[in-house]
Symmetry: C2
Subunit: 447 residues, 2 copies
């Protein structure tokens, strides 16, 4: 159930593991199996057409994977006792029931929509599905316009950046913290400066009201600091929530993050129902606590495990998803941001005693042309010296450098383990002492 | 003893740990503390002048670090029993003796010079010191010339690439394997193609003789496959050997790799003598065996440990160098090569049963402009599934991606640990399934 990323991946894995199984993929939207993370690049024309983001059409999923795909169909009720789902054909309006032996929920997340009167209808847009992205792209080609983006998370910033690249005027209402607190202030400061230098207005304010122009010719957002931000169009990208109504109404257990509770095999509290992707709660390997970490790599990994475990016989090996350290990257306004593990405040909330260091260091060897400054911000537990998280920001080399932190964070390694790494050195790409190591040395001095 | 990279680093650490100590740095050459790895970039003018590569002058080392620097002075004998060294002033020719309480050997490596009659004198050049690099740079500015590079290791390829960029005609006599066997054939094949596409002639041949033109106007190298390769100038860059004569003659223990034997504290077989940098043998963390791994990051790390341990009192913490996985990178002819751990043949020689996989995958998400293909070649032990090594090659993102392998290799982790990494994903820099993960999946299928 759910056809964007995790659903098709789980279905494909299930069909691979048991070629005799009848695998049915049900999606309420028009499209399945598409690259949702690339959608912002449609707005600027970097990705030329929405069709280009479709990985596998329903026909290709049927032909190459043996999966029956049903689109424009909503699963609106789940009856675990009878192992039945109630599905509604959104075109005909007809409702029918289907029986399942095993069920995989990949219902994803849905946009959080601020409860503000008037924040809907004409000139107000979501950016979650490929159909929404395609229609917004068509609107964005209609000459230069002023846009207000409600929300300063991934999607909000990427949409803002690509609209700005396309020549539009853009204001982002980012709330109190850029990227919704997923980065600490030193990293946020670099990101804010880069966005502003690219001509994007960043406001540390939240939307609280809407005022319409005469005849609907414009729209203004009233902010919590008393300003009115006028524009031609508003995009609401204020984060997402796991879409768990189906699971909740069927009595499946939900976790503290709001996602569907799963074990390492991605099994839910029902023995023949698995969950994967953005609707599932997973284990955060740094805190050891369940968490909602809606990132594409997690979607594919949890889907692979869910699909395998739903379809396998006793002789076939299980699929496991041990957990995540929440590593992600973002490229906007000419800079890269890379993040793994916990921020300082998340570390404190999880009961650690965080000590941090923030350094900047060149991306390439001294005297090499083209080198840029990279900021590295590390979060370490004072007593155990365990590495808890890291954030990088810079015009080059910040995103991929983040990956060296991931194995250490997953294993519970220390900042000394990081300091000891013999990372590659070559003048044109990395200085003799990598920025990550400079940062590790700085933390060790602060402990 | 030795002032290029490890020596100044060890001296600086010793002076920091014990500010009362009298720290003397002795270098036989003219320059100390310079970026030797950036020297090839002088040839093309990317780095504009040799002076720019000097990190700290003797005066700066004295003023900011409190180190007395003695250049153009050779330590020609070491008497451990008397704790004395015999030093020769290379300008005056005078010899004198100096006493030490603690001694650090950072004598580095010297070029391996093939034993070929006539491979010296006019038109034959070494490229090891800053003075040699500066004089070769001056020669390279005298119009387009034909150059033959004897040796296809790091230095040989970087010199070839920068001379070619500067408009010269270049032939590399690379012997049987590019990078002296530090990469397996799939990676070597990418590297060879890139060099050839850049107009550099790569010959799988070794130099065996020299023929001079009339009046010394040219020089030709005779190869082991019977060809004569004529050129205006020859650069010998046929690898290095640890410079251990001083240590050997003093009776210090040498290891199987030819380097000075050290423990994790970089102490030699003599209790008041430490060794660091390219002259010291270190622990290879994948084989568990002593090895000669002359890489800049190892030089600085071993130097830091040696300097600290030589200078510290009982109350101060020790410096340790647990070992290396030999990670390095190279940028030539528009491609990046990244390497960590063992090649397939090195793995076999170390007693493993290697299984490999070689894949190519895009550097960025599908449909994103500017994406390039990255080759990933992994070496894994069949039975234990332990990751033994990895090699990456591509126009972008190959060098920094290598770093994610380093923590796993250091900890003895498996290819499944690699496959489970939640590496960052952002369309403009990394695809949803990173090339490293695609390669890990391919190895798992081969086991």
């Amino acid at each position: 159930v759910g056809g964007v990323a995790a659903g098709p991946a789980a279905a494909a894995e299930a069909a691979r593991v048991d070629p005799e199984a009848e695998v049915i993929l049900i999606e309420q939207g028009r499209d399945v199996s598409y690259g949702a993370c690339e959608m912002p690049y449609l707005l600027s024309g970097v990705v030329p057409a929405a069709d280009a983001l479709v990985v596998l059409t329903p026909e290709a999923l049927a032909e190459t994977r043996g999966i029956r795909v049903v689109t424009l169909t909503r699963v609106q009720r789940l009856d675990p006792a009878a192992r039945k789902i109630e599905v509604k054909d959104l075109v005909s309006g007809h409702t029918r029931h289907e029986r399942y032996d095993k069920l995989i929920l990949a219902t994803g997340a849905r946009p959080h929509w601020p409860d503000i009167e008037g924040l809907q209808g004409d000139r107000v847009h979501a950016f979650r599905t490929l159909a929404q992205a395609a229609s917004l792209t068509a609107l964005a080609q209609d000459g230069r316009q002023r846009w207000t983006i409600v929300g300063g998370g991934f999607t909000g910033l990427e949409v803002a950046d690509q609209l700005s690249d396309a020549g539009h005027g853009v204001t982002v209402l980012a709330g109190s913290r850029l990227l919704s607190g997923r980065i600490d202030e030193p990293t946020a400061s670099i990101l804010r400066s880069a966005l502003q230098a690219a001509g994007i207005a960043i406001r540390n304010a939240r939307a609280v009201g809407v005022r319409r122009g005469v005849g609907g010719a414009a729209i203004a957002i009233r902010t919590d600091d008393g300003e009115l931000v006028g524009s031609d169009r508003v995009v609401v990208a204020a984060g997402t929530r796991p879409a768990v109504e189906l699971a909740r109404d069927a009595g499946l257990k939900l976790g503290p993050s709001g996602g569907i509770t799963t074990d390492v095999h991605m099994r839910t509290s029902n023995s023949v129902i698995w969950a994967c992707g953005d609707c599932a709660e997973v284990n955060h390997l740094v805190t050891g606590q369940p968490a909602h970490v809606p990132l594409s790599p997690n979607a594919f990994r949890t889907a692979r495990a869910a699909g395998r475990n739903a379809a396998r016989t006793g002789r076939q090996s299980t699929g496991k998803f041990a957990g995540t350290v929440g590593a992600f990257a973002l490229c906007v306004a000419g800079i890269e941001i890379g993040v793994a593990g916990l921020t300082e405040s998340a570390a404190r909330a999880a009961g650690f005693d965080p000590v941090t260091a923030t350094i900047t260091h060149a991306s390439r060897a001294r005297r090499m042309p083209g080198r840029e400054q990279i900021l590295v911000h590390l979060v370490v537990d004072r007593k155990s010296r365990r590495l808890l998280g890291g954030q990088l920001a810079g015009k080059e080399g910040a995103a991929l450098r983040t990956n060296a932190l991931v194995p250490i964070l997953r294993e519970g390694g220390s900042v000394s383990d990081l300091y000891d790494l013999d990372l590659v050195y070559t003048p044109a790409v990395a200085p003799s002492l990598d920025p990550l190591l400079v940062a590790a040395g700085a933390v060790l001095k602060n402990i």
